[in-house]
């Protein structure tokens, strides 16, 4: 293995550039260095103006998603040596406005998140004084994988539908809706379906499955979207047959 590798990094300064450019940096190639270590090396020793987000460096905070050789990745969990001899291309996540260098604007997702009501909805007045809700390990397993989403936005970057139709509520948000729907403590299925049944809810998805493929936490948003389409279809049938109050 060579002891250095070139990183070709996307640069964009909104004050000066009309469109993004690239810059190449030579960084040490070490077996245990992630892409993020390479970026930190550049920031600390070569060019202090390079801007990107990162924090936990253990694949759980969801900050450091970027496109690496065109694929959305968590850069703290993606290793330089897997791209040797290089060069390796590092770009901001696709489908989001670029703020600067490798930083994208995720406000659209942050605004969509509350729309699917990602909290426990109840129709009674149970309080903590009544103790815990019982939930068996099997019931927990029903929704567990959907609760592992770290909001890293890789699925939005990979989603061809979101790229074309920004109103599409998107994979992570739908997976989270399904997470609460499947939770035995929740009674909010109806309210969430009302949101997702809209045109920009689940219907935009043509089941490409890229979201599930790129998820670093093995969440299955594509599966959640399929389940919602089924629920929505059943709801449409019911809407034909029954008055609203009886549904």
């Amino acid at each position: 293995m060579a002891d250095k590798i070139y990183m070709v990094v996307s640069r964009y300064d909104p004050d000066r550039d009309s469109k993004p450019t690239t810059a190449a940096y030579e960084v040490p190639l070490r077996r245990d260095w992630a892409i993020l270590d390479g970026l930190n090396y550049i920031k600390d020793h070569v060019d202090t103006t390079l801007s990107y987000r990162w924090s936990c460096r253990m694949g759980i905070c969801g900050s450091c998603g970027m496109n690496v050789d065109g694929e959305p990745k968590l850069t703290c969990a993606t290793f330089l040596s897997d791209y040797a001899p290089g060069p390796v291309r590092v770009e901001p996540l696709s489908n989001f406005p670029v703020v600067r260098d490798l930083v994208v604007d995720i406000d659209d997702f942050m605004e969509k998140l509350p729309r699917i009501k990602p909290w426990i909805i109840r129709d009674d007045d149970v309080t903590v004084i009544d103790g815990e809700y019982l939930q068996t390990p099997e019931e927990l397993a029903e929704y567990k994988q959907f609760s592992n989403c770290i909001n890293c936005m890789l699925c939005y970057a990979a989603c061809p539908i979101y790229g074309l139709e920004p109103d599409f509520i998107g994979p992570a948000a739908i997976a989270l809706a399904e997470r609460y729907d499947l939770d035995t403590r929740d009674r909010g299925q109806r309210e969430r379906l009302d949101v997702l049944i809209e045109r920009e809810g689940v219907w935009g998805c043509t089941f490409v499955g890229e979201c599930t493929r790129v998820c670093p936490k093995h969440v299955d948003p594509a599966g959640a979207i399929q389940r919602y389409k089924l629920k929505a279809a059943q709801e449409n049938v019911k809407a034909f047959l029954l008055p609203r109050g009886a549904r």
Binding site: G59, C61, E132, Y143
Partner: protein, 582 residues
């Protein structure tokens, strides 16, 4: 700027992790008429709570008692905690964890559907609630998602607070800048709660995230509030050597062994009990973190550790636990090892070393999170109430964020209800701050680089105030930090772009960390005894006559650190010997 504040709130929470969000929800639920805002340098779900793994302690299991949780915490703290705070904490922790359950936290369960609990270090009974080994992650996302229910909670995501506005002993808000635009703004508030985490990044090897730069502690310190017990720094005994990634204590609670280079369970040589095949509570690998990290250093001195490119290591052995247990109870441990060390703990030994994990010290508060500055509160790792004293027990910090986050939230709301609007003088302070930031931003002051000073600070701290310290090492560290403070005045910033200027953030974080580091060294220097995580090679025993008290570090007008002492509150457990494994 002088025309007025950009925004005004009743309560401003600085930090959006477990403590901040718990406080926000507490206020939104009980005082919906108040204007509540959360300001954080990251999106709330990126906060460092997300990295907590093993669990959250709350006595609910049959046979467990609040008194036993309290005693474990008091003895774990080497009697430096305040026992009134501990009593409130153990009593409220189960209710807070239950509240999280009602909000949807996916706690691991018993077959009958009840909450499951696991053993943890220094705890006599099984009382640690867990969500597999991603407890902090699930708690944070549950809190964040629940907070979205309260649409009136205003959020300033990716805003960096640079100064507290304080006049005549009262807080009136903050100056902060929006990373996205670079705009500097005044946000006034009748009360402010600091809940922006710890400061592990002053050390080179740490489990802490990049964001853990002691911002809340530095803000309070510069505003005149004291930092308490800053000499107590927790080394977690099992971090991965290069990255410092945490391998949770739950790995030992589930039965993992610590082995030296001879494959020997060396903890048996350090008064921590006899090795058994299955885990024994308050014994061996389930001893407290301070004692385990100290044993590691002794093994290094005996030449019984293994050399690695990142210094000496020992091994954590999980192989005998089997794939099924590891997959269900410790999935993240396996994931982290596979991803970052390329080893599989089902079949291979995990290389580990002690790494800086937690600050027992922090902003001095009372039992309701109130600091000596009126209207200023603190909670979570930023704060020092203190339930942790000289050594925190694993799985007490997450419920601490909930219990004292809620308490600080209620107290801040109550204060806000009676506080006056900010006086005009604070706007002048804001103008000063604006000029200061602009000066840093556009300054052409010298040739020093942020990364060089940061690295020098980190190695200074490891060398002078590591697991063992001495008067000599600390004095040398103090001198080196003074030099680094001078170098900080000569840093060269190259980034002139306002939008998302992370170089400016790094410069401000570095200034925060240097102040915190000074407080740690001065507090450590003046504590001439060994207690909990503070081990002096020149004062090797605990000295209750002189030091059964807290250190309060104040900032002198000339910028130096002044240490005062305040009494420890003892209610029911007089100082005794810490006994583990016998």
């Amino acid at each position: 700027m002088s025309e007025g504040a950009a925004a005004a709130h009743d309560v401003l929470l600085v930090g959006g992790g477990a403590a901040g969000l718990r406080a926000a929800i507490a206020i939104a639920e009980t005082n919906p008429e108040l204007s509540v805002a959360v300001i954080s340098k990251v999106y709330p779900m990126r906060s460092h709570t997300v990295s907590a793994e093993g669990g959250a302690a709350g006595a609910i299991a049959e046979g467990d008692t609040l008194d036993e949780h309290a005693y474990d915490t008091v003895s774990g703290s080497d009697w430096l905690c305040d026992q009134d705070a501990v009593e409130a904490f153990v009593q409220e922790a189960p209710r807070e964890l239950l509240q999280l359950e009602h909000w949807g936290c996916p706690w691991s369960r018993e077959p009958n559907g009840r909450i499951a609990v696991r053993p943890f270090g220094g705890m006599k009974n099984m009382r640690t609630w867990f969500a597999a080994d991603k407890t902090g992650f699930h708690m944070l996302h549950t809190l964040f998602q629940t907070s979205l229910k309260y649409a009136d909670i205003v959020r300033y995501d990716e805003w960096f607070v640079t100064r507290l506005l304080v006049d005549d002993g009262r807080v009136h808000g903050v100056v902060a800048f929006d990373l996205m635009t670079g705009r500097i703004e005044v946000i006034t508030a009748k009360s402010v709660v600091l809940c922006n985490g710890g400061s592990g990044k002053v050390f080179p090897y740490t489990t802490n995230a990049a964001i853990c730069t002691g911002d809340g502690m530095a803000l309070a310190y510069r505003a005149g509030a004291p930092l308490k017990d800053m000499e107590f720094v927790q080394y977690h005994p099992t971090g991965l050597p290069f990255t410092g990634i945490l391998i949770t204590e739950a790995a030992r609670a589930e039965g993992g062994w610590l082995l030296n280079k001879d494959g020997y369970r060396y903890l048996q040589d350090y008064d921590l009990g006899k090795p058994e095949l299955t885990p024994v509570l308050r014994s061996m690998e389930l001893g407290p973190r301070d004692r385990l990290s100290q044993a590691f250093v002794k093994e290094v001195e005996k030449g019984r550790t293994i050399e690695s490119p990142y210094g000496p290591i020992v091994h954590l052995d999980l192989r005998h636990l089997g794939e099924k247990l590891i997959e269900t109870k410790l999935p993240m441990v396996r994931e982290l090892c596979l991803q970052y060390e390329r080893i599989d703990p089902v079949k291979e030994l995990i290389p580990v070393r002690p790494v800086v994990h937690y600050m027992m010290g922090g902003v001095h508060t009372d039992i309701n999170g109130a600091t000596p500055i009126a209207g200023l509160f603190a909670a979570g790792e930023t704060a020092c109430v203190t339930i942790n004293g000289a050594n925190r027990l694993g799985s007490n910090s997450l419920p601490e964020c909930l219990v004292f986050g809620a308490r600080a939230g209620y107290a801040a709301a109550e204060y806000a209800g009676s506080a006056q609007p900010p006086p005009a003088v604070v706007m002048r302070q804001a103008d000063d701050e604006l000029r200061r930031i602009d000066q840093i931003r556009s300054g052409d002051r010298g040739a020093e680089r942020i990364a060089d000073i940061r690295e020098a600070m980190q190695s200074t701290m490891e060398d002078s105030a590591g697991i063992f310290r001495s008067g000599d090492s600390l004095t040398k560290g103090v001198d080196q930090l003074a030099d680094l403070q001078l170098r900080l005045q000569r840093i060269q910033l190259s980034d002139e772009t306002r939008v998302f200027n992370t170089e400016l953030v790094a410069a401000l974080e570095l200034a925060n960390m240097l102040d915190i580091a000074e407080c740690m060294l001065q507090s450590a220097l003046q504590r001439e005894e060994s207690r909990g995580a503070h081990q002096r090679t020149d004062f090797t025993t605990r000295d209750d006559t002189r030091f059964l008290n807290h250190a309060l570090a104040y900032r002198d007008p000339d910028g130096g650190v002044k240490i005062e002492r305040s009494p420890v509150t003892i209610t029911r457990w007089p100082p005794g010997e810490r006994v583990y494994g016998r």
